[in-house]
């Protein structure tokens, strides 16, 4: 059932994400709106990338497609060597579960269950046994230094702590890709720094990290910055 995925993030030059002429259109006919107008993008395993761009530029659409929450209208998206076009809903769910770890601006922890149960949730969907889940959740909680909050409920924690729990949850399936959508958008500068340092640390462990942000300061943590404008990549620079 549960296999530790090592292969994907060990060889640094492997292409983990590969988009070829990806377009996304919403609506039909006259009211149709093209959010992505042909994106070509390669991201190697182990990279730390920031995606920037003004509101309405299409970067959220791009993130949703990268995270397998949405599908391109046309073009080709390969993730970890698999073409997403051939996947059905269940396979997409499985890939999200095993290959992608999400971190959201609004944290998105379930308030009614404990911190530990929140971290266990992706493993629940993977069908991992309760004992393994428990052990693995504790290990990842330790990574974000919140072991003492395991049995607390999310509303009892501070914003920074909640986001660290969310990071532990994103890591728990050991995904090849971490997708962080404005991860510091709701945090003050001190906790923002903590969260970004944590993400850098995770990146050094071999996970590919993709961060969507408005902030140049946050983007400066990344080694590569991609700027989206009007549904196209306008800049792609290494720092």
């Amino acid at each position: 059932m549960y296999r530790k995925q090592k292969s994907s993030n060990t060889s640094p030059m492997k292409k983990i994400i590969c988009l070829t002429d990806v377009r996304k259109t919403y609506g039909i006919n006259e009211s149709a709106y093209e959010a992505l107008k042909g994106i070509n993008l390669r991201i190697n395993a182990g990279e730390m990338v920031a995606v920037m761009g003004p509101s309405g530029s299409g970067k959220s659409t791009l993130m949703n497609i990268l995270g397998l929450l949405d599908t391109p209208s046309s073009g080709k998206y390969q993730i970890d060597g698999r073409d997403t076009k051939s996947l059905d809903d269940d396979q997409m769910s499985e890939l999200r579960n095993r290959t992608v770890g999400f971190i959201f601006q609004s944290f998105n922890l379930l308030p009614r269950i404990t911190v530990l149960e929140n971290i266990e949730r992706p493993m629940v969907y993977a069908g991992i046994t309760p004992r393994e889940r428990h052990a693995s959740a504790l290990t990842n909680l330790e990574k974000v230094d919140l072991l003492n909050k395991a049995s607390r409920f999310p509303p009892q924690l501070s914003g920074g702590q909640i986001q660290r729990v969310a990071i532990a949850r994103a890591l728990v399936m050991n995904p090849a890709i971490i997708l962080a959508d404005e991860p510091t958008g709701n945090l003050d500068s001190v906790t923002s720094t903590q969260v970004m340092e944590l993400l850098c640390h995770i990146n050094k462990q071999g996970n590919t990290v993709i961060i969507v942000t408005h902030s140049n300061e946050i983007a400066s943590y990344a080694k590569r910055i991609i700027v989206i404008r009007d549904g196209l990549i306008s800049e792609d620079k290494k720092t």
Binding site: G67, L69, D70, S93, R96, N97, R112, E117, V124, Y125
Partner: protein
């Protein structure tokens, strides 16, 4: 997907909002409650009637007088002698019985109460299962032969005439049907609530003044174990019809019934009747189910963002369906369990109230286990059926749009 953790989560959210949970379940609670109450009450009635019939023995055929436009001829010792002379195989013996509706009068105060006096022999008195409080619970062969005016009275008569003291009543005289009877024993009334007054006297005594019973009300043809009641009934019927000059059983002035068959017919009737009424009550379960569906749709809307999150964490559509189905089934099963409790309580209250009135026999309370099992299965089905649409709707939400919802 792990059911146990899901179940805990559901119970936790139910506890977090007790009022809403109870209001959601109320339709199911009342529906299941009604079904269980009806079926348990019917079961209680059936059990009571069955035990009454069984008490008088099932392995027999009852020969009774039938008022068929004319006064029926009596059933007396000559009838018994005639039947005995036929020497029908499989018959153990014949027992005549008499029950007279009459009055008792207190010698001291002149107070009069209505009562039943039942005839018994030294053999048949054991069948009455009297619980003796004072004196003796038997009539002797000699008392029957001498047609002695002795009576074993029940505790209700003692309460009325002897201040409820059974010992004080022994040896005293009481006027029954205008004749003096010596009290030789007191037995306990079957129901603590019933005011029914009754006494037992030697059966021969009831054939003399003042009752002048011309023979028996009924003759029980007691069968040997293993005898076929139907075959013997046919033989007795043929002989009786011939002796009394009838060609057709329907025109005869007597009737022959088999208590076991009557009991079965009665049980079948009660089962069918309670099933029909319970089915009508079950219509309210549909209303309850719609209530569940309504609240589940609200829940899906409330948790749209959560559903999006779960999808992003790798939940498949069927994981979402499962989660919401478990939630709706948990609601209906909890409602069902509460409903079963309510139904048992209502049935118990109903039986208790019936027993408070002057009624015979005393009703026993019995819980319908079939009713409970059917109710719980129905609860699960309601959760499944009415939870299916909200759950499917939740699973079909677009993850991107769901996540964007606040």
């Amino acid at each position: 997907m792990n059911y146990q953790s899901l179940l805990f989560e559901v119970i936790r959210s139910m506890r977090a909002n007790v009022l809403r949970t109870v209001l959601t379940m109320i339709g199911i609670i009342i529906g299941i409650g009604a079904v269980v109450a009806i079926m348990s009450t019917a079961d209680s009635v059936t059990a009571t009637v069955s035990s009454e019939i069984e008490k008088t023995g099932l392995n027999k055929i009852s020969l009774s007088r039938r008022y068929n436009g004319i006064t029926p001829r009596s059933l007396d010792d000559s009838t018994i002698h005639f039947l005995e002379s036929l020497a029908i195989l499989g018959i153990k013996n014949y027992e005549g019985s008499i029950s007279v509706n009459t009055q008792a009068r207190d010698y001291k105060t002149g107070e009069i109460v209505s009562m039943y006096i039942n005839g018994a022999t030294e053999e048949t008195i054991g069948d009455l299962n009297l619980e003796i409080l004072a004196g003796r619970g038997i009539v002797t062969k000699e008392e029957n032969a001498a047609q002695s005016r002795v009576a074993i009275i029940n505790s209700n008569l003692v309460k009325k005439f002897f201040y409820g003291d059974p010992e004080a009543a022994i040896g005293e005289m009481v006027k029954i049907g205008g004749s003096s009877f010596k009290i030789i024993g007191v037995y306990k009334n079957m129901s603590p609530f019933s005011e029914h007054v009754a006494a037992v006297a030697p059966i021969r005594t009831l054939m003399t003044q003042p009752f002048d019973e011309n023979g028996y009300d009924q003759i029980s043809i007691v069968l040997d174990t293993g005898s076929d009641a139907n075959t013997i009934r046919e033989q007795v019927l043929a002989a009786m019809l011939k002796a009394r000059g009838y060609s057709d059983e329907d025109k005869a002035d007597f009737s022959l019934s088999i208590p076991r068959q009557e009991l079965n017919t009665f049980k079948q009737f009660m089962t069918a009747a309670s099933a029909v009424i319970a089915l009508i009550a079950a219509i309210s379960l549909i209303v309850g189910g719609v209530g569940i569906m309504n609240i589940m749709l609200v829940t899906v809307t409330e948790r749209t963002k959560e559903i999006g999150l779960m999808r992003s964490l790798g939940a498949k559509k069927r994981d979402i369906v499962k989660q919401f189905l478990i939630e709706s089934i948990t609601l209906t099963v909890f409602g069902g369990i509460l409903g079963v409790g309510l139904g048992i309580f209502v049935a118990y209250a109903a039986i208790s109230i019936i027993n408070m009135f002057d009624s015979m026999p005393h009703f026993m309370f019995s819980v319908s286990f079939i009713g409970i099992i059917v109710s719980l299965i129905v609860s699960i089905l309601i959760g499944l059926i009415f939870g299916a649409y909200p759950a499917t709707r939740a699973s079909n939400l677009n993850p991107v749009e769901a996540l964007r919802r606040e």
